[in-house]
Symmetry: C2
Subunit: 325 residues, 2 copies
DNA sequence: ATGAAAGCGCTAACAC
DNA sequence: GTGTTAGCGCTTTCAT
């Protein structure tokens, strides 16, 4: 920066100003500085800037997995907006082990981000402590909480599970099964679904659980077992993700069952392909675009309005009825 | 850090040493320092550390899209390894507009990462200049280049397209069509496929192009048009991604066509569901795990061996024959 | 094994 | 509108 100043015949500070508030330097000076920058290919050192100003323009984000489209698309919507406001994203994955979250949070906080986005609302005591200590806005997404750390944007997974059960009952399904991945939130949806469906219909809901992420292949497997265990007619299968549901659809098709007459399927997530599969998939829609955007907006208003505003927003969900149930 | 020192009865420098090279402080001192850290919940300021040491332990990564599983999974494999070696990842998306890459590179470089990962091998002159200027290891992935900036890990898309054409010819397909997304590399595969298939069979290859990312829905649409345009028997459709291919499969099924007898389909990417769909999808496999891992290893050896080693690695591809072609 | 001093490349506060 | 000065919180080097 001092070098650029030399080339432009000004001091280092003026270069700094030209970069951060161009209105504060005279047009001619600005021009000379810009020329010098263009000639040298100088890229300012944001690390030094962050240290001096105590503002990093960095947002830390912690997601279970980037390869899960459901988390990735929320992240995408979120980062588009933050990027538009001059923020960059530092990403970290927690994977399946919850103990990784604590380490990840510490690592992220060490970069002194201006805010942090967390997936889920269950965090260790030590994690909460570090977060509070950091004194930065926090937004928890994908869930609702009675005791949010700060901002919270999501929906109630129990409500979603119950709504799916009510939907199934309403459309006349008399027995049900679930296919569920190894995910805290998926389990809560399953529990709510099962409990509601059982109390209303007085029939037992069969559970197929996996402790790994959902795939189409596992969905097929689960459906195959369910069919072999002889699923009664008017049965519905509530899946924890559209991937399982797709697999269930494929397996039913291969075995010559008609969907939804022989067996109905409800997915979760309403991913792009849900509407385009054959038969089209009935699914619980979460507007991931809105989720990401709302989280970004929550942070942005927290930045401008200070720690007073603990934004908590329920973005809800919607059951999209198509052909599979 | 000075505060921790006070609590532990040592100077700030000793705390610094305790954190970066614990072997250099006496066990008792170390213990007291660790206690103080645990008590206060102190998180070191990596920003200041990076400024002082000129080492950020940050890797910048630039991908077209995080919502595309193909890029996300490479990123995942890459970051798992880098994380294991103490590096964090700063992520940025370029999207479809190539001009965004330059801005993203500048923004990322301003954080003084220790290395940068780029998707693709075509970069603007200004981008190359900034990269060279930064003086850090660069790894370009997903493609091969005659003039890599530094390290390069990928495969030849032209070779892949040609191989698909040869495969199609070998299995007796006499006419072909392509469904292609708006992606530089996909277009190169299509061109190579078409050119090879046409010269060998002397039949014209029909192209269905989109300038947006691939979806199952668009795959159905494209296949529908292809069928309406009357695809001759013994036709094969080469898709630029498995998503298109899945859509093509669904549409063929809905229209009562038998795959591969009435129409055959070849996907690209060999995603998880390719093996589990019905019929199972024939696809060009890229080992994304290996791609990400190899890129990480290239950087790691560049770190240890210095600028001498310009690692260039072709990870190849493999056509997985299943039922659809 | 520990400490003192210098400085990383910027921004903030204050002068002029 | 521009320059001077003093840090930001660490690591590095050199002393002890």
């Amino acid at each position: 920066m001092a070098e650029i100043g030399q080339l432009a015949g000004v001091s280092q500070v003026t270069v700094s100003r030209a970069l951060s508030s161009p209105g504060k330097v005279s047009p001619e000076t600005l021009k000379r500085i810009e020329d010098a920058i263009a000639r040298t290919g100088y890229v300012p050192n944001a690390v030094a800037g962050a240290l001096a100003s105590r503002k990093s323009n960095l947002i830390a984000a912690l997601v279970p997995s980037v390869t899960n489209i459901v988390y990735a698309s929320v992240l995408h919507a979120f980062s588009e907006i933050m990027w538009g406001h001059g923020y960059q994203i530092m990403l970290s994955e927690t994977g399946l082990q919850p103990d990784r979250e604590e380490k990840a949070i510490a690592a992220l906080l060490s970069r002194r981000p201006d805010a942090i986005l967390l997936t889920g609302v269950h965090h260790s005591a030590q994690a909460r402590r570090m977060l509070l200590n950091a004194g930065i806005p926090v937004v928890e997404i994908w869930d609702m909480s009675d005791t949010p750390i700060d901002c919270c944007v999501g929906f109630s997974h129990s409500d979603a599970g119950r709504a799916a059960a009510d939907f199934a009952v309403q459309w006349g399904y008399e027995t049900a099964a679930t296919i569920t991945a190894g995910d805290d939130r998926a389990l809560r949806r399953r529990d709510a679904f099962t409990s509601r469906f059982e109390t209303v219909t007085r029939s037992k809901v069969q559970a197929m659980d996996f402790d790994v992420p959902a795939t189409l292949g596992l969905g097929r497997e689960a459906m195959a077992k369910l069919i072999e265990l002889s699923l009664p007619p008017r049965s519905v299968v509530f899946c924890s993700s559209d991937q399982f549901a797709q697999g269930a659809l494929v397996e039913a098709g291969v075995r010559g069952l008609t969907v939804p007459d022989d067996v109905a399927v409800i997915g979760f997530g309403d991913q792009e392909y849900a509407a385009s599969s054959a038969p089209a998939l009935t699914s619980v829609r979460i507007d991931r675009q809105v989720l990401g955007r709302t989280a970004a907006e929550a942070l942005l208003t927290r930045f401008s309005e200070g720690p007073g505003a603990h934004l908590v927003k329920d973005i809800g969900f919607q059951i999209i009825r198509r052909q599979s149930a």
